[in-house]
Amino acid sequence: MTVLRGGPLASVQDLGRHGYRSQAVAVCGALDIPAAVAANRILGNDDGAALIEATYGGLAVRFDVATAFALTGAPCEAHLDGERTAWDMRVTAPAGSRLELGTVTAGARTMLAVECGIAVPIVLDSRSTDIAAGFGGFEGRALRAGDVLPLGEQGPAHDAHPLPDAYLAARRRGLPRVGTTVFVRVLPGPDAERCSETARSQFFSTEWVVGPRSTRAALRLEGPAIVEERAREVPSRAVLPGTVQLPIGGRPIVLLADGPTTGGYPRVATVIHADLPLLAQTPIGAHMRFVRVAGALRASALTPGG
């Protein structure tokens, strides 16, 4: 398939590059994992087949062979050869047909899966693009007009599997829009005690806004700077997607999949795993508040979707 237009940011991703944090390699991968899995399951692909993640729509592609595709995640106007095309289902695409995505109306990330997956080379066990490091996916970068993506050759591996509960639940709730408020559940971060009571109180009581400098690496929140008398730097420590840092500027940074593996800012909170897809679908201009989840976890609290 050929990319006709990359839109604001489209890249090849799969479920991430795991097992290389020790080498300072970011996990990367689809920011909304349930949406990626859903798109693949609709087509009978392996859950982890590589697909395209489009940020704020705008992507346009041509299918150079007869195939099928599925769109999940952030909804937008989508036309196949000028005709509106369906969401969350398998759509056949004749050879030469063009798919165009318009602007997103809710959420931020749209997944486009193709039958048999995108067959770019595997690098360090994954087909995900590491844009900052410049490897993986398609030539280690965002997609642009003229890029030709190889498709997998084998037929669909599986019968249709049920879509992930987390995806269906998000669909039912509706994705966040600009100006609406998203509530993100967090555990106390490892450096929470290093932050003053006042700082933590301000962190939880402020309604933050997702700022324009947000990327696949991090959401940069805007709002009143958190006043902190204590030192704002701590020794460099491990961070992960979902880590919320409180830097010197006083405005929280929420790390996402492309973020660094270590950092020197206090880690005030950690977004729970179940809310990472919510972070992925919170657009610039949406509001965000953090909600404490109990610090002591028992086994029952850790079931997915909880």
Binding site: L187, R237, L297
Partner: protein
């Protein structure tokens, strides 16, 4: 190392545990953490291990409740206590050839000025010690090296330079390191190496691992 440093541990998200140590000898502690990390990697429950400053994060395959994390922290403490003393541990030494100054080290003159010494003295002191890889971070394969001559410590730039060349050798605060790839960088650049620090076709892909020792060799004598 004297009295064994106290270990503390804390939850890091649902799937990970961070253990940290405070000891009188941070260099010895850091080397011991590196040795411990190597030990932990063989454990099938462990998905990944990240060494950081005086700490170690263990990522599990499965989410862990508090009881599981506490049990694992005990296991980490036991492994720590069972490590052979430093003198008995195998150590890898990597020599890195560096062209200092000129176009390869655009900030060498500034560093010399800030440190109140000649450029030749900066180079001599930079090459004069055996460094220890403390941990990796920032970019794939970027190793933070400890053990630098304290007189060479210079602050990081307030704004990163947009394009530091791959192989650039820099000083940031009390640490030194080599940028594996070109890109933005906040450290002061005093030289450059041709050595490849990160290669996706290698296992492991990063040349430098925590605990390795590094020596810089000037390509031409000052």
């Amino acid at each position: 190392m004297g009295a064994s440093p106290r270990m503390r541990w804390v939850r890091l998200g649902e799937h990970a545990l961070e253990c940290s140590w405070e000891g009188a000898d941070p260099l010895a502690v850091q080397r011991r953490i590196a040795a411990l990390a190597a030990r932990l990697r063989g454990d099938p429950k462990v998905a990944d291990v990240v060494v950081s400053m005086q700490a170690l994060a263990v990522f599990f395959q499965d989410a862990g409740d508090d009881a599981l994390l506490a049990r694992y922290a005990d296991e980490v403490r036991r492994l720590w206590n069972d490590l052979p003393p430093e003198s008995e541990r195998e150590v890898r030494v990597v020599e890195i050839s560096v062209r200092y100054g000129g176009v390869d080290g655009p900030d060498l003159a500034e560093v010399a000025r800030l440190c109140e010494m000649t450029e030749a003295e900066v180079i001599r002191r930079h090459c004069g010690v055996e460094y220890t890889v403390f941990f990796l971070g920032f970019q794939p394969g970027f190793a933070y090296l400890g053990g630098m001559d304290a007189r060479l410590a210079v602050p990081r730039l307030s704004e990163p330079q947009p394009s530091v060349a791959a192989g650039s050798v820099g000083i940031g605060g009390a640490m030194t390191g080599v940028y594996p790839r070109n890109g933005p960088g906040g450290w002061r650049i005093i030289g450059r190496t041709e050595l490849t620090l990160f290669d996706v076709t290698h296992t492991p892909p990063a040349l430098l691992q925590p605990g390795d020792r590094v020596r810089f060799i000037p390509v031409s004598q000052p």
